[in-house]
Amino acid sequence: MAATVATSEVHSGTETPAVELIGVTKAFAHFVAVDDLHLAIGENRFFALLGPSGCGKTTTLRMVGGFEDQTSGVIKLHGEDVTGLRPYRRPVNTVFQSYALFPHLTIFENVAFGLRRQKVDSGEVNRRVNDMLELVQLTGMTRRKPRQLSGGQQQRVALARALINHPRVLLLDEPLGALDLKLRKEMQIELKRIQSEVGITFVHVTHDQEEAMTMADTIAVMNSGRIERLGSPTDIYEDPRSTFVAGFLGASNLLEGVALDGAGTARLPDGTVVHLPAGAVSAGEGSVRFGVRPEKVRLYEPSDPALPGNSVVGTVKDASFIGVSTQFLVTTSFGVDLVAVEQNIAPNRFRPGDRVAVGWDPEHSFVVHGD
């Protein structure tokens, strides 16, 4: 069982995190949704909570927003303990997955809702609503009702409605899930732009790893109520550290071998010796599992003199042309299928049935633990 990952990414000791969770647990009668979570999120970050369905990411977000009470632990916003405070007393706003626009109110009144509750005077409400609608590119829609807007437009209204209140943290619960692919990609860039323009912390919950990597500065990968890995997209991708993260974020080739003393190498079942990154394996560790990303491996003739540091011999099982690249499936003699993705710069030399060597730079391997 992976130990709780040290999950503070506050850069200097004196900076107060925008959001801080200390030992937060949410337990229901039959299962634990969030298990002793420790997390600190800095100011002006685009932070993503990534994980499969049921991992606890939405529950965590809801606890920060005040819609669920934690079973134990403390939640702080900008250093202030908000435990027990109702949502309307917290300085955060939420963009819901279903947008939750009030169907009986116009767009204008929807966006103005929070301001009106704060007793802002009409003149200023007018000004701020119009400014905000301009920010999300929805000027002129003030009189319409939500059902008259498209999905993408509704999404932007939901965003405007939340941002207009100048929350210090914005919570987003899989807001792009209902949009079609093209619109989703556009909105991802839009949200990123707005976040850097507005300068507040966004906490974005999603199950789409591509989305998280596109938008976030920092990603926390959650699994079964715990954070398995926290870091920048690049860090997490190149060094997943656990089998789960390796499989969830992008695709991986995972191999198991026996660690050989001293030299930082491992022996595969077919006898091949592979080199692992310096310091990744400690002496006497026994069996070790490691991986390499499909785009980091290439196919070679088994007798090619330019073979890189690590290579495994196998037979090509499948070669799929995907436009930008060709995806190869190579079966090793010990039964594991390796995936290689090569950019289509030169015409493809290998066909199913060919004997090839799958080779990669040892520095591109990463060791994983757990399941």
């Binding site: 934690q70 079973t71 134990s72 632990g73 403390v74 303990d81 435990t83 027990g84 109702r86 007393r89």
Partner: protein
């Protein structure tokens, strides 16, 4: 360890109380007014009625609680005919209503198109005339010299000295009519929810229209059928207005008996025993029915 809610800054005492108990107390608070009303005016009277059913005495001498279970056996033996008649009439009426209502509901659900709501409204409209007036109207329709009876005699469905009024048929006809809306609407709701693509799938898999109906549509409409039959049978079994206005004094239903025992003869214990027996009989009939059709969550 639990967080110390009371230590949160900025909350007053009431708000802190609310924070600790508030959210869980809300549903109970909402239930109290209505629940209390039902408790007071439904549950308690029923319980009391149960008590009365075991009492003995008369209006002049006063009533005394003697655990007289014989009230029940007496009532059952004395009025068994009326009981059975009620069940039979209500059953026949329910069946008739089902037969009449189902095609009607089917038409609206599947052929109604844009006019669905209008047609539903049309079904409800007749029931905006007072119940008693509608029933009295049947007295006119089924009159001896009326068009209906004349036609039936001409066709030969009825002997020349027969009549409809003051017979069981009139009563059943009245009950069927009066509760038709209760049967039609639930069936409609069920049918309307049937996913059309299921029927198309059945057709795609070589089922004819009739077979698709039998194997797909009808089973899916069963919850509505069950709801409709319950909503019809239960009030029908206890009805006595139709019997009074359209039937004859020799053929009373249980409802008539209860009414007269309560309001005229003032024999409360017997009337109470009859009421309870009726209620238990209905429950005994419908619980296995609901179980068998697997639609317990209708109630939820």
């Amino acid at each position: 360890m639990a967080t110390d809610v009371t230590a949160v800054r900025g909350l007053g005492f009431v708000a802190r109380l609310r924070a600790r108990y508030g959210r869980r107390a809300v549903p109970y608070l909402l239930l109290v007014p209505g629940g209390a009303w039902l408790l007071f005016f439904y549950v308690i009277p029923l319980a009391q009625l149960a008590g009365v059913s075991l009492q003995e005495g008369s209006f002049e001498t006063g009533y005394e609680m003697t655990w007289r279970w014989s009230n029940y056996s007496n009532a059952l033996s004395e009025f068994s005919e009326q009981f059975i008649r009620s069940v039979v009439y209500a059953g026949l009426a329910t069946l008739a209503a089902l037969i009449i209502a189902y095609p009607l509901a089917y038409f609206i659900a599947f052929r109604g198109g844009r006019y669905k709501n209008l047609l539903l409204v049309l079904i409800l409209m007749p029931f905006l005339t007072p119940f008693l007036l509608r029933t009295l109207a049947w007295k006119v329709i089924l009159a001896d010299s009326g068009w209906v009876v004349e036609t039936m005699k001409t066709i030969g469905l009825m002997p020349s000295n027969g009549r409809l009024l003051a017979t069981g048929w009139a009563v059943v006809a009245g009950i069927t009519y009066n509760f038709l809306a209760f049967m039609t609407l639930p069936i409609y709701v069920s049918l309307e929810k049937v996913d059309r693509s299921l029927i198309e799938a059945a057709n795609d898999l070589y089922a004819s229209t009739a077979t698709a109906f039998r194997k797909v549509t009808f089973p899916l409409s069963l919850p509505g059928v069950v709801a409709g039959t319950l909503l019809t049978f239960i009030p029908a079994a206890g009805d006595y207005v139709n019997a009074q206005l359209l039937g004859n004094p020799q053929q009373l239903m249980v409802g008539n008996v209860i009414d007269s025992r309560f309001l005229r003869v003032l024999d409360y214990p017997t009337a109470a025993a009859l009421s309870f027996t009726l209620m238990v009989a209905i429950l005994l009939l419908i619980i296995p029915y609901v179980r068998a059709s697997g639609t317990e969550d209708l109630v939820a």
